[in-house]
Amino acid sequence: MYDINIDTKPPPLIGKSVPRKEGARKVTGQAQYVDDLRFPNMLYGATVRNPSRRGIIRNISFDPGVPWDEFTIVTAKDIPGKNYVALILNDQPFLANEITAHGEEAVVLLAHPDRYLIEEARRRVRIEVDPLPCVDSLADSLAKTQVIWGEDNIFKSYLMNKGDVDQGFAQADLIVEGEYETGAQEQLYIENNGMIAVANPEGVTVWGSMQCPYYVHKALIPLFNLPPEKIRIIQMETGGGFGGKEEYPSMIAGHAALLAWKSGKPVKLIYDRAEDMTATTKRHPSRTRHRTGVTHDGKLVAMEIDFDIDGGAYATLSAVVLSRGTIHAAGPYSCPNVRIRSRAFATTYPPHGAFRGFGAPQSIFALERQMNKVAAVLNLSPEEFRRRNFLHEGQSTATGQVIRENVDFEDLLFRTLELSHFHHHRETFDRANPTSTVKRGIGFATFMHGAGFTGSGEVALSSVVTVEATIEGKVRILAASTEIGQGTNTIFSQIAADALQIDYSLIELAQPDTSTVPNSGPTVASRTVMVVGKLVEAACIGLRQTLISSGLLAQTYTSEEFATGAAEYVENVGPLRASGEYKPPPNVFWNDETYQGDAYGAYAWAVYVAMVTVDPVTYEVRVDDFVAMQEIGKVIHPILAMGQIEGGVAQAIGFALYERVAWKNGRMANGQMTNYIMPTSADLPPIRVFFAENPYAYGPSGAKGIGELPMDGVAPAILNAIEHATGVAFNKIPLVPELVMEGLLAL
């Protein structure tokens, strides 16, 4: 049937860079972040933390000279319900009681109407701790110098087997070993964490900066021993997350709410930068060992990978970070025999947590350095060795997931090497370096990143999105997925507008508020567009069908006609709503016991190229050019997508070269922007972003997830380039100048 009204429809928005939905509020300073709210009679909160390390809390005292009777003071004994932050294992308390597991752990909470006095008071609470032995490294944790968690200091371990790795090594002509390390990294969103709470037996309401309102909701139910409907969590505009506002906000919300509960007043608890950096989570440090068996003709026949991460003092999300890192550890290569052993260890550092990439940047760093090492041993170019081993459609990953996408990595690699003039630069640098004062190099990494929760995770989440028509004839999207800068509002609006065939201006977003929006799952794991966006689309199709079946809207219509029809429905018939609920794609199988099967619904595939200059006098490394090519299904919004990739690449350049957490006595010693160095506008190369599109059948308009992808391949591309420039195989990041010096002096 011909669609005769086609000209009256608004043009499709998917693929267009429409203005960011909340953009005007952001460029005018009107956007409301949690610290911008102020309530009548509000108190200011502060957290007093363990000034020592692991130990027994012997005494808490309050210095004279502070009017303590004016303060609300909360310790573990004041908790009305359960003293644990509900997450996976529920081992982390909101407030340490008797025993403290790490430095900077929260012990006492204070609130007072004077925000200046509260700072002084915080310094005058004395927490005395009798020290217990600490575990400062993966090696000590493994050796069980002290058992600090469970029976063996291991939060979680996985063993993944594909084929027969011993037989694979028996067939190998060459076996290459390598060891790789990555450091902790601070998320460093520019808006510090913060919450405001109102709490009494009638209910607890918290406003704050967060990625996952329903995680906070889940954590506050046992804390107050209240029914779910009495806990209400509202996300304010959030100034960046990167995983740093995935699980830790539950802790802060609990603290603010405990102070509000005891004082009977609203309490605002905002971290300053130093507290945010030293007390909250960071990326898990890691160590990976590779043993790779290859034939003389450059085919992988055996991969044995040991992947260990430092989880810190409590389990938090370490098990799932480990899972993603484990699954990505063998990368986009076809190898018949793979064995991956991985472990998340307890140490006495503050817990490490979610950070963009979630374990994958760590294991992919190791793999992509190892692939270059193996290529060199084989006397093959890094590109030729990878070309002989790329996964193709019909072949299987390390989990045995058969790739059903038409992935063409050879083409992606060829195009990217062309775009970056890779061969030209390599030859030029090879000629110039022996006589040049600075050493230049070019390197690349090829990798993939799975979108959505791992394995059966999405089924367990069973996310829901609702859309409803308003009395003005607009359509409002109700989802718990948060806008944290990445563009959720805009992309959901584009998907909705196209599914409803109406103007972008007719779409509204409900503020994520657990009392009004359904649980569409956490805003993590590159799942918002691919998984939740698909639910937005489904809900909109449902709403449109309802409206058409009611007779208030013709089969074809203009935006104005839609608005009129929708408004009439709401006024005369009643609420007009529809929901989309997650259904897994067909023929997906996952076994949680053996860790085999379809780990992710879809993967984004990428080739990143870095060009560097190493100064052998200052030991400084500068990235001169960066090319990021990725196949992400379908680009919904080119500017937002480029922004995601560029921002991720910048953050990953920091991970590779600048961002060193200096640990001293179990705590971060450089918890300031002055001496924890993130890239500025003057530090970065041009970041040139390219997209290839190969629509994914179960994503909205074919889109796959991209948020975490750019974190994965940058560090190995840079270190591969540095090896090309200097001839030194650096295998530990962040590769700060001191380490470059060590490596070059050892030559």
């Binding site: 203005p19 960011r20 909340e22 953009g23 005007a24 509020r25 952001k26 460029v27 005018t28 300073g29 009107q30 956007a31 409301q32 972040y33 610290d35 911008d36 102020r38 004077d114 200046y116 006095l117 002084e120 998320q187 460093l188 969103y189 520019i190 808006e191 510090n192 505009e237 959030t238 100034g239 960046g240 997350g241 990167f242 300053d272 930068r273 944290i484 800068g485 990445q486 563009g487 500017i639 937002l640 480029m642 922004g643 560029e646 921002g647 991720g648 690449v649 910048a650 953050q651 300031q672 922007m673 002055t674 993130m678 890239p679 500025t680 506008s681 003057a682 970065l684 041009p686 970041i687």
Partner: protein
Amino acid sequence: MRTGATAMQIRVNGVDHNIDAPPMSRLLDVLREDLRLTGVKEGCGEGECGACSVLIDAELVNSCLIPLLQVEGASITTIEGVANGDKLNAVQQAFLEYGGAQCGICTPGMILAAMTLLDRYPNPTLEQIKEGLAGNLCRCTGYMRIFEAVIHAVRE
């Protein structure tokens, strides 16, 4: 503690205000708390991130490092004073259209930094843009869309 308040006068976004605050109060706190100009953001409190940038007599400063005392009688511009009613300034418009703002927390300071940069160099080179914005940290964008926005603000 915030004791010893003194009456002082400052001009903010074209409006005179009498402020009763201790002379060593951070300008950042006076703007946010006393005048409720919450578009001025606190990112680090030590002059590193630039989220609290404002203009004092057209000069870009970190308001977290400026005591109130120092701006007595000065004319201050915050992000709230940049648009002309509903009409966005060219830099704001370009940030909106070209992806210069993501999470938005660095955006007010970044826009003021970009305006200062364009005052100094009406046709800046990329190097001048990078240098001019180097005091304002952004964790979301990797700065590329911000450069793009500044370049388009010049053109339009």
